[in-house]
């Protein structure tokens, strides 16, 4: 979406409601479509710990390489993008996450169930991993 309204104001012009609404419209678009909705940088080996995160309330270690991330604030729909990437320092392999489709409701507005594999398809814990969620506005056909 193109930015609207912002070019019509000049330096030292008084702020108007129209212009402020225009700023809000652009900001809302960025928040909805262009920003991360949730992310976490975590240590997934041993006792899990989060180094930093946004909109993640808890992490559940279900079994080897299988983590569930619960959002602090639910998302508006399930058409968001997500991915994870990290490193398993035990075997020094890069690991990637995907949706654990074997579980019912593995991608929902409230959580994502993930499994992390290396390039050979082997399940690996993320000794240090980052998981990100973004987008999600709209839905099928939009």
């Amino acid at each position: 979406m193109a930015y609207t309204g912002l070019a019509t104001i000049n330096y030292k012009d008084p702020l108007t409601t129209i212009w402020m609404n225009s700023v809000k419209e652009n900001f809302d678009d960025m928040a909805e479509n262009r920003c991360f909705k949730a992310w976490i940088n975590f240590n997934g080996s041993g006792a899990v710990s989060a180094h930093a995160s946004f909109n993640i309330a808890s992490v559940t270690y279900n079994a080897l390489a299988r983590y569930t991330f619960i959002f602090t604030s639910s998302l508006t729909n399930t058409y968001y993008g997500f991915w994870g990437m990290g490193r398993n320092t035990g075997v020094n392999h890069t690991v990637f996450s995907y949706c654990e489709s074997g579980w019912a409701n593995s991608v929902t507005t409230g959580h994502v169930d993930t499994e992390w594999n290396d390039q050979d398809g082997g399940q690996r814990n993320a000794s240090r991993g980052t998981f990100c969620v973004m987008g999600g506005k709209g839905g099928p056909g939009l």
């Binding site: 041993g46 006792a47 710990s49 808890s58 559940t60 579980w103 399940q123």
Partner: protein
């Protein structure tokens, strides 16, 4: 940014263990740690049918770390008794150990039919 020291352990029927860790900053202003944890546990039970009937045991990151730092300590060997006692079952082979055993078995067979180490390494790459 920090993870609470409190951890909830879930005992699967086969004695294997799941663990839920909590992000301190996700707590609501008027919420205690225990209320926050209860809210997350309730969510997991309602959203995952495989959690619904599991017993939960309050624990700490230190308890888990103590187990995992034992000789042969590994998540895949971590087991919980019905009373909530954690232990490491040293007889259990991890998936990685099984994979390496199979790999070594295949290498031994290839050597037996006359392949050199270089040839075997080239095949394994």
């Amino acid at each position: 940014m920090s993870t609470l020291d409190k951890v909830i352990l879930w005992r699967n029927p086969d004695g294997t263990v799941r663990a839920t860790y909590f992000i301190r900053e996700a707590m609501k202003n008027d919420e205690t740690e225990d209320q926050f944890i209860e809210r997350q546990v309730d969510y997991l039970r309602k959203s995952h049918s495989d959690f619904t009937d599991l017993r939960t045991f309050p624990s700490t990151k230190e308890d888990i770390t103590d187990q995992l730092q034992k000789p042969k300590g590994h998540w895949e060997r971590l087991r919980m008794d019905p009373d909530g006692t954690l232990k490491i079952d040293e007889t259990i082979k991890t998936k990685e150990e099984v994979r390496l055993e199979k790999k070594q078995g295949a290498i031994d067979k290839l050597k037996a039919i006359g392949l050199s180490d270089d040839e075997i390494n080239a095949m394994l790459r």
